[in-house]
Symmetry: C2
Subunit: 218 residues, 2 copies
């Protein structure tokens, strides 16, 4: 497992860089998925289970972006998947240049790469990383009011995975309210309530991922 | 309840502005507490219970900082405390100038003012708001690895309130590990595990708050 110290990209053309990166990745047969969430929403756990479930069907690599530590990359590494840790030099988000730099450090022939963005519901939504799909993770304990407070994140995401559904009985969390609020901000958003602990909903999420990958792969 | 749309402060001297604001507030007998956390950690719930418990002893006002919505300010308002909503114009943190602007919109004779900063574990730690104390909230479902991943927030906080302790049986959360990791980053940090639901630990947190206020008030 490798760790890369990124320097902040100085560019006024992130959108252009992101478009170029997306095109290059498509040509190389890599499907890049940008996972965004608040800290502690269960991104790494979701990725771990997804890798375990799909490892015979598609080769998955993971780029973990954090300000410090490599605890997440270590967890992925233990599954036998390629995982790379990037440190963002204090930056609260990834942009296309930083994503490109991290990808350049990956050596495996990965077909799907998860970019686990910095845990933050604000800044990552403002920067196109070059990913083919943006996926937001919201965990049940965070509450059902998040679409009201962080609207841009919901608007920029193609899919919303609602994690820790097994904890729903212990929290006031109105799933229908979240669906309604997210759908109002982004009518085409796909929503997957899951529990990595019980396995609930994981097949629907994984089928979505596979079908989006296969569509590009064919 | 009032809502103020803030414009980003353009200043290269935030530390100086923050020092000046802190001094002014001390002279006016206002104790300003900056609450920082990830989204959904239970900041508003903690504040609500604290206000309810202390309302006969000290007058508490609340400034809610968010990118959008006024759901938190509404909740505080229903308790009969002064609450003001500030919108940060997309900014992911509050600085001293923005805090000053928000405070100028408060009319009550508050003795303690909570600034509920934008839900974000990264950027708010980098900006001195002028508060007398920085308090970080970490909720049990976020996990015990947060000091490893967001070290600056733990370093900048005078106290750490660990919320949702009632949910500890349902999550892998090692309280001793958090205490050890936080203490390593910041040996003088005060740590208060609480549950607003069961009331566990609330008295210790409220006593800390009152004693810090009284020390300044005397």
């Amino acid at each position: 497992m490798k760790t890369i110290e990124l320097k902040m990209t100085v560019t006024d053309s992130n959108d252009r860089d992101a478009e170029a990166l997306r095109r290059e990745l498509s040509e190389r047969g890599i499907f890049l998925v940008n996972l965004m969430s608040a800290p502690g929403s269960g991104k790494t756990t979701l990725i771990s289970h997804t890798i375990t479930d799909l490892k015979d069907r598609v080769k998955i690599g993971v780029m973990e972006a954090d300000i410090a530590s490599d605890v997440d990359a270590q967890r992925i590494c233990e599954l036998g998947a390629e995982s790379i840790q990037v440190h963002t030099d204090g930056m609260c988000h990834m942009d296309a240049g930083m994503t490109r730099e991290g990808l350049a450090g990956m050596e495996g022939e990965n077909e799907i790469v998860f970019l686990e963005n910095v845990g933050n519901l604000i800044c990552p939504a403002e920067f196109d990383t070059g990913a083919h799909k943006n996926v937001m993770i919201l965990s049940v304990p965070e509450g059902d009011d998040k679409p009201l407070k962080y609207p841009l994140m919901f608007q920029r995401s193609d899919a919303l995975v609602i994690t820790k559904m097994d904890a729903a009985p212990y929290f006031d969390f109105d799933l229908e309210a979240v669906k309604m609020r997210a759908g109002k901000l982004n009518p085409s958003i796909r929503i997957f309530p899951v529990s990595a602990k019980t396995g609930e909903g994981m097949a629907e999420w994984e089928n979505y991922l596979l079908s989006e990958w296969e569509m590009r792969h064919a």
